[in-house]
């Protein structure tokens, strides 16, 4: 079950930045966050947006089956406030994201990728 008002755009890792760029209008939509889910060895990434004007409406750009060693593109030049979530994604899942550094949330070098099920 999922809320009826969530619109999901399935896309691929190569196209996602392009898609968001073409679709996103900062006056109308409002970026919420980037979320990763470990789906058993594969990562699923959601870029989540909400609408200023329409009640309950949310939009999700979804990329499934991302392996943990691919480079994930950054959307920080379209949405300047997205860098926090990208850095967090890197810390939590130990994946490479463009233009990010490790260690904003997890300082201890012994703890790697806490939200991954295989580690």
């Amino acid at each position: 079950m999922i809320n009826p008002n969530v619109e999901i755009f399935e896309t691929t890792l190569e196209k996602v930045v392009e898609d968001i760029k073409n679709w996103y209008d900062y006056k109308k939509y409002h970026y919420v966050t980037i979320n990763g889910v470990d789906e058993g060895g594969k990562l699923r990434i959601d870029w989540i947006f909400a609408d200023y004007n329409e009640k309950n409406k949310m939009y999700v750009f979804r990329v499934t089956d991302v392996s943990f060693d691919t480079l994930i593109p950054s959307i920080a030049n379209i949405i300047p406030s997205a860098w926090m979530a990208e850095w967090e994604l890197r810390d939590m899942f130990d994946v490479e994201v463009e233009n990010t550094q490790k260690g904003i949330f997890i300082k201890d070098p012994n703890i790697v990728a806490p939200l991954r099920k295989d580690k």
């Binding site: 079950m1 999922i2 809320n3 969530v6 900062y26 006056k27 409002h30 970026y31 919420v32 966050t33 979320n35 889910v37 470990d38 959601d46 989540i48 909400a50 609408d51 200023y52 009640k55 309950n56 949310m58 999700v60 949405i79 300047p80 406030s81 860098w83 926090m84 979530a85 939590m92 260690g103 904003i104 949330f105 997890i106 300082k107 806490p114 939200l115």
Partner: protein, 361 residues
């Protein structure tokens, strides 16, 4: 022209309520560059929520993310899990939830405003604000049995009812509080020295607020009418006549005024909710295990709080994602410092009312 000097602000600082560290590059008094570190209090709550706790008592963990908005986290979680389990809380429970949520907002806003006054050098106003806040804390303690961790939410309703006497008591105290808040509001509004320290400082334009996806009172102080209470259906806010409060000045002063306006509006909302408290049960039974995924947005005192829950039909959830308001306000905060005076850094940070234990989780 002076030399570049690096000034650390935090992680321990007399003006900071919580650990966050900023490294300012300064030239004379002016800040030219900022580095920010927010992860000092990372406790791995998202990890614990999907390994150690069953879905029935994850909420006791999640509410302890933060003391101020514990009710927000309870709300975000419960509104999500109720969708996954397909239960609906009775009307009376929804109203009680609303009352507690708004009381929580009042006490958080009062302290945030008082804090700004304190770092702007107005100690007396701080004490006035905190004194008034105590009324709300007592009310919360009376209704829920605890000052900070209310734990009133439960799946399918609330754990405690509001009796007739308590309702009367709340009404009496809130009317008293309203007078006091209006008095303090006057100080924030008209005081000359307070204005000097706060007016025009750290201006955010409406355009910037949208570009950086600012949330909460900070966005509303810049004229951006965003509020999860109006944008997402989770509690009967329409029925009690909720309206978004905005200002257009976009500075530290406007943020304080917006918060103060919201306090007054929240008092009105609670009074209306108590007058129209529906009769009936406060709890319904639920069956089954959570399955599927859901997105929830609720309005914390500091702005919009986002929850993502995914269940897989077992007792333990598969993913719990919490995105708190401060998390999405840090990027603009970082940009704002550039070009401001170092002496204004404290009011700027505190006008954002940052909550680091939420951000780092």
């Amino acid at each position: 022209m002076g030399n570049k000097i690096v000034v650390p602000f935090g992680s321990q600082h007399i003006a900071l309520p919580e650990p966050v560290s900023f490294l300012f590059d300064t030239k004379n008094e002016i800040i030219t560059n900022v580095k920010v570190d927010v992860g000092y209090v990372h406790r791995g709550i998202e990890k614990a929520a999907i390994t150690k706790f069953e879905f029935t008592n994850v909420s006791y963990l999640l509410t302890r993310i933060c003391g101020f908005c514990s009710i927000t986290h309870a709300g975000g979680y419960h509104h999500g899990i109720e969708k996954l389990l397909d239960v609906e809380a009775p009307k009376r429970a929804e109203y009680i939830r609303l009352i507690i949520t708004e009381l929580d907002r009042i006490h958080s806003h009062l302290l945030a405003n008082a804090h700004v006054a304190e770092v702007a050098g107005y100690e007396n106003l701080f004490m006035q604000g905190v004194k008034d806040r105590e009324i709300v804390m007592d009310l919360l303690e009376n209704i829920t049995g605890n000052r900070i961790q209310y734990d009133i939410y439960t799946i399918g309703g609330v754990r405690r009812d509001i009796s007739k006497e308590t309702a009367e008591y709340i009404k009496k105290q809130l009317l008293k509080l309203k007078d006091k808040v209006l008095k303090v509001y006057d100080f924030y509004d008209t005081d000359y020295t307070f204005g000097l320290k706060t007016k025009g400082i750290s201006y955010i334009s409406l355009d910037d607020a949208k570009k950086y996806n600012v949330v909460g009172p900070i966005a509303r102080a810049s004229g951006l009418a965003t509020d999860a209470r109006a944008e997402f259906d989770y509690l009967p806010y329409d029925e009690v006549g909720f309206e978004i409060q905005t200002r257009t000045e976009g500075d530290v002063w406007a943020r304080n005024i917006v918060r103060q306006m919201e306090v007054i509006h929240s008092i009105d909302l609670i009074l209306r909710a108590i007058d129209n408290l529906p009769e009936g049960d406060i709890k319904v039974k639920y069956k089954g295990r959570p399955k599927g995924e859901t997105f929830v947005r609720v309005e914390a005192p500091r702005g919009e709080c986002f929850y993502y829950l995914k269940g897989n039909g077992t007792k333990v959830l598969e993913r719990v994602r919490v995105r708190v308001p401060t998390y999405s306000n840090i990027p603009i905060l970082k940009e704002l410092f550039v070009g401001e005076k170092y002496s204004d850094a404290q009011p700027i940070v505190l006008s954002f009312d940052p909550c680091m234990s939420c951000t780092a989780r």
